[in-house]
Symmetry: C2
Subunit: 127 residues, 2 copies
DNA sequence: CCCAAATCGATAATGATTATTAATTTTTAA
DNA sequence: TTAAAAATTAATAATCATTATCGATTTGGG
């Protein structure tokens, strides 16, 4: 598993790698628990701090808030998501046209920077 | 401003009316502050309790979590949203095809119940 | 009007996230 | 390499939105 960027501290890289090596769209606590095995002295605050940094840098994105927890995605290629309202699982949906941002908005002085498509329902395990 | 349903208690109706009489996609606290004028003894807990009820009933929808606050929408007709990353304002986008939920998902055993399209960027006041 | 059920206000509890600060790690530059 | 400066971290406390509790109040049916 390779880093997306260099010149990150050891712990910071561990946070990013945990995020990017899963497709579960983890919460901060999930990342924290995942990393704890290899870095027993990691702090939950460090996870939050670095996730905030990654979001500013654009190397990860926020997907949604599920059951009060923000869930993040290490994949930055445009794609949609399916969120299971039963178990909270988030799935990537790549077979989707997430094309041109509609021009209606630009006409009214809105600067669209990103578009998000999310489906809600029951996943195949819960339905 | 008319109620969506009858047989609601006075306070409950006040909460729903506050939600439905604005297009700002309010937070619970916004609703609370709005109602306080007319019902000085309203409790924030009552607002939360009733919003949860309305969501279950489907008379309001959750739009997104912005700056840690859940924002709700009294309009249930399908439409998209624009969220300003600067000021947190949420705008309705009606000129949009939010048509058939894509069949790809159904093939894999996913039961799609709703679809959400959200644009992020700077609104005309912030750009 | 009276009573049972529903709803509410006040308050405490919960839980995620953020801020603080002193200690540790990393980088810089000689 | 090495010492100082800068960046990062662990531990902890603080914040803040939301939820739970529970006794009091309101509401609707008979």
């Amino acid at each position: 598993m390779m880093n997306k960027r260099k010149n990150y501290s050891t712990k910071r890289n561990a946070v990013l790698n945990a995020i990017c090596s899963t497709d579960c769209h983890p919460s901060a606590k999930w990342v924290y628990n995942k990393i704890k095995d290899q870095y027993p002295d990691i702090s939950l605050g460090t996870v939050y701090r670095n996730i905030a940094l990654f979001k500013e840098e654009g190397v990860v994105n926020s997907v949604a808030t599920v059951n009060g927890e923000e869930r993040i995605d290490g994949r930055t290629e445009p794609h949609a998501h399916f969120i299971c309202t039963e178990c909270g699982s988030i799935y990537d949906i790549f077979n989707q046209e997430l094309t041109a941002v509609d021009s209606i908005l630009c006409d009214e002085g809105f600067e669209v920077e990103s578009k998000s498509i999310t489906y809600y329902g029951k996943c195949n395990k819960c339905s």
